[in-house]
Amino acid sequence: MTMYAYGVAGWLVLIGAYGIVVSRNLVHAVICLSVCQSGSYVMLLAVGFQRGASAPIFDSSNPPLAPVVDPVVQAMSLTDIVVSATVTALLLALVIQIHKRHGTVDPDELSALRG
């Protein structure tokens, strides 16, 4: 049971990669990459988790000596999410261009070099 969260992280990475491998549509492949990357969020948050600890934000109800989960990995997952969103945007823009130039977004039909 204690390995459950790590298992979910590994499974997300693999299932995302599987989705990219069998993808017949580049938009689908881009979303699969996001799924793949979600594995890293789960992994980071699982590493920083502590049973019974609260969020790393202190106020009157959560005084500074209370146990909190690891804020460093949370900041890293925030960075991760931002990078994932920007990479997704860039890849989707590329897909739009590919569709304009080649008239298809099926990676199997994109074997011809052009240009």
Partner: protein, 247 residues
Amino acid sequence: MNQRVRLTLFGSGAVVMGVFFVISVHSLPSFGGLQHLYRDLAVRAALSHTTANIVSSVNFDLRAADTLGEETVLLASVIGVMALLRPALEERELLPRERGHAMDATRLMGYVMMPVTLAVGVDIVLHGHITPGGGFQGGVMIAIALHLLYVAGSFRALDRLRPVNVFGMGELAGAAAFAMLGICGITFAGAFLANFIRQGQLGVLFSGGAVPLFNIAVGVEVACGMTVLLAQFLAQEITIVKRGERP
């Protein structure tokens, strides 16, 4: 390479990765345990700078160089999308006639929720150092608030509300402000991106030193960057047409 070969290749790679993953996870500290060395160090450092939201402190004070890289990635990707999606030689931009109307309920919700979302977004940026939130989260909410106008059924109104070149400049200004705050750190505190403002009392609005300023810089950059990004994609769908075609 056909589907079968590809799947076999993936399967063998996945098995190898899975084995290594299980081995490496087994030597990690146990899940949910009490030992978090970086947590202890980060909490102590953030509290010494009186920033109540430790995650914000890590992002904009303790590891601000990381965030500088992150927002440079954001800037680069927005520039990349703008370059990729600019109108090609055989295309032109044309504002289409207003057609079709959203349902009245959708429009009402759009117009009602827009100021609320905008206010919550600004609030999340400004209180990012004492409550959950920060420049990234609040910036995205501000961008979403603007696009509720599009959901409410009027692309023309959205187009008037967000001149894309102004927002492009806004994004650059946000990124530049972040770098300038870093340079202020050199001038006033002796190190790049150091927290150079007196930090005040834990949990009040004016605390955390330079962290709220970083939050505002990032909030401006993300709000403008997201708006510009979405503008490029919306333009592809709505205003950019092939020459000789009516939209």
